[in-house]
């Protein structure tokens, strides 16, 4: 990492090293080093820290990563991917009688400095045309969606690297242009305009439905294909817009009736976000619940970025609900599930969640997450052909502590591969022609395989949280 900047700070604390170490990530150590939060201090455990960027007029930004090295009482190393890929190193050294010298080093790569400069208002450079086929990827490196978007940029990069290793697109290299929309639709529009100016022929939006819609509007007239690559409520289609991923009606058909049978109850409380995703998801939920003979006891909608759910949890308790449907996303979902568990809601209710993949469940933690159910088209232990090889390539490229590959990041990888194949065959085609090709039905007899999954109507798997992972219970329509 020759272009990495290291920034360091240190302090002497009048506690023994093992005492200072024990404060990390615990409730007793609340406020300890950027509100570090992790349920277990062991290699592989996820951790979040909050950088106080809000002091300068913006919002606090979460650093999301994994504990890569832990030596009790002496060392904690954190590898993080959000908001940039970097490393935080903590050293606890004895210093005199029962004192500890705490040293913290932040290793910030060039991309991290660029992220920070951009965040501070400086436009990113716009390199001249180099003949490459430019593809844009908008992800959530910050904001509520950063939790579910952790591996999205890595998977986009992996796909482009593989395309190039195979000879590129009609002999031209593919070049990935990335941007963080901060889970903010206005920012997504600005980043999309830059990508269009740079000549990106397609933009893959691994962000909210609000961002997808903003990008779609922003590039109108540019002949740019916009591909939404996370589960979504549908709609918003145009000749130059494609929406891949799971749809709530299919997810709910798989989840609602079995959850009612298991819980022995029929009263649902719906919790979601106050934008188009949850509006669509909850409309589908009301239909699915009615079909299954249930009823809706209440509903609460929260703006993106909500971290406090006490009032909603009280409403759920008062409603007498037996079941909860959560369409919350990212950090909001993490906060809601942790607070629900702490409030004892698990004793009286069963929860199904629509946007619950491996990264989100890891941040919810093994205790608060236990028993949560979801239905998605991909999990790390999916039986789909080629998955083991994909995960090996990913780990080889990004290391053992890289964030989990999830339904929301694997689909970016497949979308880029599918798009590259289409452009290779039709290099001069319009965005609309490429969109039509992406939407074209694959043969129904073809078995699912990584790289050729049906991304419009993905085969769903029902999974349940088991510790910090998601265990597949069944293939929808095909019990295992």
């Amino acid at each position: 990492m020759s272009d990495t900047v290291t920034i360091a700070a240190e302090r002497t604390v009048r506690l023994a090293p093992h005492e200072v170490f024990a404060l990390f990530g615990t409730a007793q150590g609340a406020g300890w080093l950027f509100d570090a939060q992790c349920d277990e201090v062991r290699p592989g455990a996820v951790v979040s820290l909050r950088l106080p960027l809000d002091g300068l007029g913006g919002h606090a930004v979460d650093v999301l990563g994994t504990l890569a090295r832990v030596v009790p009482g002496a060392v904690i190393d954190i590898e993080h991917t959000q908001p940039w890929r970097g490393r935080l190193s903590l050293r606890f050294t004895p210093s005199g009688a029962r004192e500890t010298r705490l040293q913290v080093r932040a290793h910030v790569p060039g991309e991290g400095m660029e992220w920070l400069l951009h965040r501070r208002g400086i436009p990113l450079p716009e390199p001249p045309d180099d003949g490459a086929v430019r593809l844009g990827a908008i992800t959530n490196a910050s904001g509520s969606g950063a939790v579910y978007s952790m591996s999205a940029e890595l998977m986009a990069e992996l796909a482009v690297d593989e395309v190039n290793a195979d000879g590129g697109i009609r002999g031209s290299a593919a070049h990935l242009v990335t941007a963080d929309d901060a889970t903010d639709a206005d920012q997504a529009a600005l980043e999309a305009e830059r990508m269009a100016r740079l000549g990106c022929r397609a933009i893959f939006v691994n962000s909210t439905s609000a961002s997808f819609e903003a990008v779609r509007r922003a590039v109108t007239g540019w002949d740019v294909l916009v591909v939404h690559t996370v589960l979504n409520e549908g709609g918003g289609l145009s000749p130059t817009a494609v929406r891949f991923g799971e749809r709530p009606d299919a997810q709910l058909d798989a989840l609602v009736a079995p959850a009612m049978a298991t819980a022995g109850g029929r009263r649902w409380f719906l919790v979601g976000q106050s934008y188009v995703w949850s509006y669509g998801a909850h409309a589908a939920a009301r239909r699915a619940i009615t079909r299954a003979g249930g009823e809706v006891a209440g509903e609460a909608l929260h703006p993106l970025g909500t971290g406090e759910f006490a009032a909603t949890i009280e409403r759920i308790e008062r409603s007498g609900a037996d079941l909860i449907l959560s369409s919350l996303v990212g950090a909001d979902e993490v906060a809601f599930e942790r607070q629900s568990h702490a409030a004892g809601l698990r004793a009286t209710t069963r929860t199904v969640a629509l946007a619950l993949e491996e990264a989100t469940i890891a941040h919810i933690g093994p205790r608060a997450g236990e028993g949560l159910q979801t239905a998605l088209g991909y999990f790390q232990d999916s039986p789909v052909a080629g998955n083991g090889e994909l995960l090996r390539r990913y780990r080889t490229a990004y290391g053992v502590w890289a964030p989990a590959v999830t339904a929301l990041s694997e689909i970016v990888y497949e979308s880029i591969h599918q798009y590259a194949r289409i452009v290779h065959l039709d290099p001069d085609g319009s965005a609309a022609a490429h969109g039509r090709a992406l939407r074209r039905q694959r043969p129904v007899t073809a078995p699912d395989a990584i790289g050729s999954r049906d991304l419009l109507r993905p085969q769903l798997y029902v999974a349940q949280a088991d510790g910090s992972s998601l265990r597949i219970l069944s293939e929808v329509g095909r019990p295992r």
Partner: protein, 129 residues
């Protein structure tokens, strides 16, 4: 120059901003910025002493790039020239900002007992790796 974060990033554009990015792309220039951030004002010789395997002539050429980019300020005193980070420079802003939030985080570490007090000025430092 932007002096504060704009929540929507819609801030200002200055002619030397791409130059600032170019300046940031070189390892030695990052190291020079880090040394100046840590030490304040230094002469070319002082900077060269603090950067391994880079001679005085190379440091001078990198300083020219940094000065042209608006990241480093030059002061002449007789035959000597001294360099410091440009207080309005974008990258310096980011360095200082990151350094300050890291220092705040460490200083805020919860301590059930008494602490040894504030660290002396300059104990939080920057270095390029």
């Amino acid at each position: 120059m932007c002096s504060s974060i704009d929540g929507c990033y819609r801030a200002c554009v200055e002619p030397n901003e791409n130059l600032a990015f170019d300046a940031l792309s070189d390892r030695v220039r990052r190291r020079i910025l880090a040394v100046l951030g840590e030490q304040g004002e230094l002469s070319v010789g002082d900077i060269a002493q603090r950067i391994d395997a880079v001679g005085r002539t190379t440091v001078s050429s990198h300083l020219r790039v940094l000065r042209t980019s608006g990241l480093v300020r030059e002061r002449r005193d007789g035959r000597n020239r001294f360099y410091s980070l440009d207080a309005d420079g974008a990258v310096r802003d980011a360095f200082v900002f990151l350094q300050s939030i890291l220092r705040q985080g460490v200083e805020a570490v919860e301590n059930p007992g008494a602490t040894s007090g504030e660290d002396p000025p300059g104990s939080a430092r920057q270095a390029a790796g």
